[in-house]
């Protein structure tokens, strides 16, 4: 009996393919970086609805990495960024972070994840002991809660409670001047929206005790139609409106509220307005919206900041976002720490980072500080102003007072049982 072969894949070919497959799989685990470069891993969100978070974080990092490399790198070692998409899933963020350290040989982590992803990467940093800088998560608990504290994790992002204190005191002063007693709030229905609104109203009432909240709206995150929210607010007839909607949600909200002439009927305080992602997208930016600064090249009104914003625009053909400066700051701090220690070793860098004060275009007084006690950034530019429909969009920004912030932050920490 002769066995005739059917054309197609035979056993030998199958074995060969399996072998090749196994080899491909094993490759990354075998290859270990021996080079003189220092690899810095960066898990972030590069796909989906908030992909801009990842792309503008990456831009912010790269613009500074190029400068550091041109100047000789971290203690003589060129930085090689390994930036990977976590798709916004925390378990992916954890996996990617572990892979970056364990497989790709990254010695430092820049965690450019948002909300829950940042906490997932934080646990990886706790497990692996690798130096990790959180650059995008503004959740106060990440550094304020002593249970979260680990010596190798830092944050170069804003902190929610700082924004609330400054926003509350600014809103209260306007409130007193203009007699705004009845307030409404409108915020996206998730942790950030609820916490930020809660903290803002706490501080508003603290500075202006005669204000009251007469209406609250909680549209869903990424909601498309805000008609019901807008009409609800108009019916309540408040004198002022607070909102922490952001990005696309804020711009659709403003476009839709414009149809109802909402902005001529009350003072609007939108903390996330003064970011180019919102300012440049709104069709008819109303005059006089009060906003906190996210990133704007005219505040701090220094030559350094304007130059940084312009250089970024020249390179990437768009203005920086709030995420851009937060990520750039991480690299600036690392570079300074490595200069001080003449080393790129994670432990030594961490030691140097604690309490490190550097010159920065984003500092309220030209410097920012990595506070030693809770390893989070302080002294960054923080203030509020009102919008005009064209550049520079927010001409006058009233600076927040860091002395007040520190006092009230300490009080807030105590009330939360953190100290």
């Amino acid at each position: 009996m002769t066995r005739t072969r059917k054309p197609g894949v035979n056993r030998r070919a199958t074995l060969a393919m399996m072998g090749a497959g196994a080899a491909t799989l094993a490759m990354p685990w075998v290859a270990r970086a021996q080079a003189k470069t220092i690899k810095v891993g960066m898990p972030t969100i590069l796909s989906g609805r908030v992909a801009q978070l990842g792309t503008s974080s990456r831009n912010g990092v790269m613009i500074e990495v190029d400068k550091v490399n041109a100047a000789g790198g971290l203690a003589g070692r060129q930085i090689e960024m390994v930036i990977r998409d976590s798709k916004g899933q925390p378990q992916e963020a954890a996996r990617v972070a572990r892979e970056l350290v364990n497989t790709d040989g990254c010695e430092l982590l820049i965690d450019a994840e948002a909300s829950s992803g940042a906490f997932a990467v934080h646990e990886v940093a706790r497990d692996l002991g690798v130096l990790c800088i959180h650059t995008n998560s503004e959740t106060s608990a990440l550094t304020a809660d002593p249970k979260q504290h680990i010596p190798n994790a830092f944050r170069t992002a804003r902190q929610g409670v700082h924004d609330s204190i400054v926003g509350g005191s600014y809103a209260a002063s306007i409130s007193k001047a203009k007699g705004l007693k009845k307030w409404a709030t409108c915020a996206p229905d998730y942790a950030y929206g609820r916490d930020t609104t809660g903290e803002f109203t706490t501080y508003l009432k603290r500075f202006a005790p005669d204000t009251e909240i007469i209406s609250e709206s909680w549209p869903k995150l990424f909601q498309a139609d805000y008609t019901e929210v807008v009409t609800k607010i108009l019916q309540a007839k408040p004198q002022a409106l607070y909102s922490c909607l952001w990005g696309g949600d804020l711009t659709s909200y403003i476009d839709q509220a414009n149809i109802y002439a909402l902005f001529s009927q009350m003072e609007v305080f939108a903390v996330n307005m003064a970011d180019y992602t919102a300012l440049t997208v709104v069709k008819n930016l109303p005059k006089g919206i009060h906003s906190g600064n996210r990133y704007i090249k005219t505040y701090p009104a220094t030559a350094e900041n304007a130059a940084w914003g312009d250089a970024y625009k020249a390179k990437y053909n768009e203005y920086p976002t709030n995420w851009s400066w937060e990520n750039a700051t991480a690299i600036m701090l690392l570079a300074e720490a490595s200069k001080k220690t003449n080393s790129a070793d994670g432990k030594k860098l961490a030691e140097a980072l604690r309490g490190l004060k550097i010159k920065s275009p984003f500092g309220a007084d030209g410097t920012v500080t990595m506070r030693a006690e809770d390893q989070t950034l302080v002294g960054y530019a923080i203030g509020w102003g009102t919008t005009i429909p064209q550049e520079p969009y927010v001409p006058q920004v009233q600076a927040g007072d860091w002395k007040t912030i520190f006092e009230l932050e300490a009080e807030w920490k105590k009330s939360k049982g953190y100290t």
Partner: protein, 340 residues
């Protein structure tokens, strides 16, 4: 006819001697697989490979348990991910809040899952096809929303923060990477073996009969509702175990674990691996994770690549990889004989 007789009736096509032999074979395969996996860290020092196997254990248990519903019983659940999330959250919360030993928390998680699955199942399994799929999806969204809004318990959309404490028990220290790896492998192999036993038991054949013709099963005296509910709860238990492994791996639990995308991933794994063979979902898991890990390394346009692969399987192969392999093997076997 009593249920017992019905079960016997379901066994008719097989000879009496075979089940025993099959069972021993399964157990020895499982033991061998476990030994190979457990020895792996001695030869390969790669932590990434261990991570990979741990994640395979979590998703493999989840996907295989989904196949008990989809492939064996014909119940396409779109909400199976809720039990994955429930397992992760229950385990994480028990460990964080009570500080009981790990095995106690694990058993308690299974008890909680049983109760929740029994309640949800009792409502869902009466429905058929698309209605069943949608009601399971609705329950999943309910659990997901509960996790999001019950901030004081679950931490809302930030997830369970501060890490899950993992005190050592019986000399096993789950904070140790290798210990966690071996525990995951043990859970995976035990889980697969148990599911295999369920699938090959008379009860498993009852499920196939329900899948093929529920009316007929009902007419021969099988309580279809009870059988469906039983497998719904059993499948939930294995999915929940997968969630526990994931919670241990990331040292936390996040609302995304209970989101519909996890269920979608489960369905996709089943499509990829094939639903007609027992190990199809396991193969699908390995494929999907390799695909995910390698593509994410190379590009951020992961979605496009995944979409093309789905199209290839859905339109090109029209079946899962294991289905394809089994058919191909059968053809090869029978081919020469036919010609000879």
């Amino acid at each position: 006819m009593t249920e017992l007789q019905a079960e016997r009736a379901a066994m008719v096509p097989r000879s009496q001697a075979r089940p025993q032999r099959w069972r021993y074979l399964d157990v020895s395969i499982a033991l061998a697989a476990f030994l190979v996996l457990a020895m792996l860290p001695m030869f390969i020092g790669s932590k990434a490979l261990l991570d990979f196997v741990i994640r395979c254990s979590a998703f493999g248990l989840f996907a295989t348990s989904l196949n008990l519903l989809v492939g064996f019983t014909g119940m396409v659940s779109f909400g199976h991910g809720m039990f994955f999330g429930l397992g992760a959250y229950s385990f994480g919360l028990i460990m964080q809040r009570t500080g009981v030993p790990v095995p106690v928390a694990f058993v308690a998680t299974l008890v909680i899952t049983t109760i929740v699955a029994a309640v949800i199942g009792a409502i869902c399994v009466r429905l058929k096809e698309i209605y069943f799929a949608f009601v399971t999806l609705a329950f999943q969204m309910l659990i997901h929303s509960t996790i999001l809004s019950w901030v004081s318990l679950t931490g809302g959309d930030q997830g369970l923060r501060g890490g899950i404490p993992r005190p050592a028990f019986f000399g096993i220290d789950l904070t140790n990477h290798v210990h966690l790896y071996i525990t995951s492998c043990a859970l995976l192999v035990t889980g697969l073996l148990l599911m295999r036993q369920i699938a090959q038991s008379p009860f498993g054949y009852t499920l196939r009969m329900i899948r093929d013709n529920a009316n007929r099963a009902s007419f021969v005296g099988i309580d279809v509702w009870r059988a469906k509910l039983t497998i719904f709860v059993l499948a939930a238990l294995f999915a929940s175990t997968g969630g526990v492994i994931m919670a241990l791996f990331v040292s936390g639990a996040y609302p995304e674990f209970a989101y519909w995308t996890i269920s979608g991933e489960g369905i996709f794994i089943n499509m990829l691996g094939g639903v007609t063979t027992f190990l199809g979902p396991m193969v699908g898991t390995v494929l999907l994770l390799i695909l995910n890990d390698t593509v994410t390394r190379m590009t951020e346009y992961y979605g496009i690549v995944l979409g093309i692969v789905i199209l290839f399987f859905a339109i090109g192969l029209r079946k899962g990889l294991m289905d394809f392999a089994v058919e191909w093997y059968a053809q090869r076997r029978s081919g020469p004989a036919e010609r000879g």
